[in-house]
């Protein structure tokens, strides 16, 4: 039996490893059009910062693939035939399969920009290895750069460029940084830190046009707000979309929405074809539809898809959400529900005066903890998850917060010396 996996990102690779664990006799092949070996996409910025080499991005020793009996094929899948059970690569080769997993990930979203046709150089994304090469090649000839996008990838790209001596302006569409994850107070802390660091931040504006010099290199960016920003590089980091364009034109396409539609066992509409990771749009048993474009979900989904493709019957249950990041140098942890809740959701906001250090406890209707947002120190997300599952009262969590600390030894974060206010999640006056 042959398991073919399209995409060697974390979802595809985790699926391969999980299938191998379950079935040692399975023939397994990974196809990728991007790289010969699995690499960590999340670490692109550290390669750009020159803290890691390309080889360091590979999470496994190269011997592992042979030892695990996982064949790697380089090529782009251009056709899929579910009846004949084959796929076709761009070189014309066909690969037969008995089980197929689609793990094609997500690609960058593009901003509609006037004048884009004239640009031959200088507009970049920051998602693939090719993007990294392009960014690195352009940086030496760049004095000023504009990065559009108020999420994680935008701040990462801005930080990298700034590190290499480029004057960076980050343009945020909304009135604050990362509104889908951070309430206003937390956003403001991050923006303040970016500015201190030397990154210029413009909020509530978007780029609508870009102009090129004679050579076709980006020369300036114009915004709706009337700003003209001279620059030699424009980074567009406004989110990602499932990479399914190739699947739209194949002989037998699986049912597609924004992503590849799958049920809670990660099965597509085609028999013996599964999908997982950034490309999958999951429809849960409760009828909820979601696309999760984060590393942890890609991994968890990869486990389920791999297990099921190898004969298992596991369902994917969306875990209590958690995520973490390093925003410039402010560690960020979130668990449970956060900025997506109604604005009037009551929260307890704890802040250290004058420092980027805060915790926010989000409260459910019964006064129980439903979410946590921490900035400036490290937290044990497992314990917080447990408290959310157990519906611990916010008042109790507040008094026991020190137990969930995950700080380095000798760091004494004075949790008892924080300013506390009860505020609604978004805006509004302070309530009791």
């Amino acid at each position: 039996m042959h398991l073919l996996i399209i995409g060697n990102g974390v979802a595809g690779v985790t699926a391969a490893m999980t299938a191998r664990k379950r079935d040692v006799s399975l023939e397994i092949t990974l196809v990728s059009d991007e790289s010969d070996y699995f690499f960590s996409r999340t670490a692109l910025m550290y390669a750009f910062l020159d803290r890691l080499s390309r080889r360091d991005l590979e999470p496994y020793e190269r011997k592992v693939w042979d030892r695990q009996g996982i064949r790697r094929v380089r090529g782009r899948v251009v056709d899929l035939d579910a009846e004949g059970r084959t796929v076709t690569l761009d070189g014309g080769a066909t690969l037969a399969w008995d089980r197929l997993i689609l793990a094609t990930g997500a690609g960058p979203r593009m901003l509609p920009l006037e004048g884009l046709d004239e640009i031959r150089e200088g507009v970049v994304h920051f998602v693939t290895l090719a993007d990294l090469d392009r960014c690195e090649a352009l940086t030496p000839s760049t004095q000023r750069a504009v990065v559009v996008g108020g999420g994680l990838i935008g701040i990462e790209l801005a930080e990298c460029l700034h590190h290499h001596g480029v004057a960076v302006t980050l343009v945020l569409r909304d009135d604050r940084y990362w509104p889908t994850a951070l309430p206003a107070e937390e956003s403001a802390m991050v923006v303040a830190r970016m500015r201190e660091h030397g990154i210029e931040v413009i909020a509530g504006d978007t780029a609508f046009a870009v102009a090129a010099d004679e050579a076709g290199r980006v020369r300036e960016v114009r915004t709706h707000g009337g700003r003209v920003l001279p620059c030699e590089m424009l980074g567009v980091c406004i989110g990602v979309e499932p990479r399914i364009e190739a699947l739209r034109t194949v002989r037998t396409a699986p049912a597609l929405g924004r992503g590849v539609l799958v049920d809670d066992h990660l099965r597509t509409s085609l028999p013996d074809v599964y999908a997982c990771g950034d490309c999958a749009e999951v429809e849960s048993a409760e009828g909820e539809r979601f696309i999760e474009t984060i590393w942890y979900s890609a991994r968890a989904q990869g486990e389920v898809a791999g297990e099921n493709a190898a004969g298992g019957t596991r369902a994917y249950r969306r875990p209590i959400f958690y995520n973490s990041a390093m925003l410039i140098d402010i560690p960020y942890t979130t668990v449970g529900r956060s900025a997506d809740l109604p604005p009037e959701t009551p929260t307890l906001l704890r802040r250290a005066p004058g420092r980027p250090l805060s915790q926010r406890l989000l409260e459910g209707p019964g006064g129980e903890l439903i979410g946590f947002i921490g900035l400036g120190s490290d937290w044990d997300h497992e314990l917080l998850e447990r408290w959310i599952r157990e519906q611990r009262p916010v008042a109790w969590v507040r008094d026991h917060l020190h137990r969930a600390r995950y700080d380095v030894e000798f760091r004494n974060v004075r949790l008892d010396r924080m300013d506390e206010v009860r505020v609604p999640l978004h805006g509004g006056e302070v309530s009791t």
């Binding site: 999340t42 550290y46 991005l57 690195e136 290499h164 958690y322 314990l383 137990r403 995950y406 380095v408």
Partner: protein
Amino acid sequence: MIRQTIGGRLAHDIRNRGLTAWLLFGLLSGFYVVLYFGVDYGHPQTGVERAQAWLYGTFTVHLDAFGAQWLSFGSAESGLSYAGNRWTLYALLYTLAMLVGGAWMFHRYRHNPYQMVRTFSVLFLQVSFAFSVPILLKFFGHPEYYFSYLWPLKIEYLDPAHFEYFGEILVLYAFFASLVLTPLLGLLWGKRWYCSWVCGCGGLANTAGEPWRHLSQKGSTAWRFEKFAVHGVLLIAVASTALWFASALLPEGSAVGGWAEGTRRWYGLVVVAGLSGAVGTGLYPIGGTRIWCRYFCPMAAILGLVQKAGRFRIRVKRNMCISCGLCSKYCEMGIDVRAYAQANRDFVRASCVGCGLCAEVCPRGVLRLENVRRRDPQELTLDSLADGSWR
């Protein structure tokens, strides 16, 4: 890779095995050769002698003369004096290198109290017990003794041939510190109490050697070699010490005495001068820091075994690792930390010196150095049992 300034290019070159790194390697190794093997050739006659004298003889004379001139205190007439030589000079340079590297550490890791405390500790012990105290002891006519170095790192401290010279108190201290204190603290806090907080070898690596820490050999092959090598040296150290005790107990003139003398010479030449000095430090710019500590140090081997049985752990936050690889890259002992982190496994590795840099560089706060075995951070108290909050 983008490096726009000349300074940036040089920094990259010297930190990543470029030409300048090899030059520095040549310089450092040359320095160690002169230091350990240099002899005074007086008036060289033959061509070979002249070449040898030119190669290191004269340098050594200069080193000794320089040491004697600048680092001698007091006068012989007053009865109190200290004769400087190249070793004093070496100790001074070593301490200065640590202080400069230490200042950089303080600046770079000012936000990380673990790094601050640890760096302060090694610097303090270097300046006091590994530099000033031995000189003062000699100055006042006592044996030169390094309280921060223990058997089997300083193998002669448990060599009966030296007991008379050191005197009862120091010999008792050596026995106690090496055989009781070392394993005890190792069980409580892991290897780090010595390797990252006290030892000067580790101290130099973690201060002046910091720019090269990422050059350590990663991968399973290096790990296999490490286990073989470090335990091999430990075996040799223990066997040599046993031999020296035997030769001290057996009547004079027996064959054992000759063997003991031989092992003393060879151990000094190969292990102390060669591996801990020339290879251990000379190779910084090429092979990374802590080559000595990882592959050869017998003290580290003992502490590693103790650590495996003790309370020290590196705790891994479940499902939080993004497999970026910074932790593995910056591990000076070549441990593939990422392999454990992405597999959600808490771990203890014998070679881990607990420098804490993996936790420092991790951008997702996955790693934590701990001394407790229990993973659950919720402590069990009578109160918590009563109100059920322990659950």
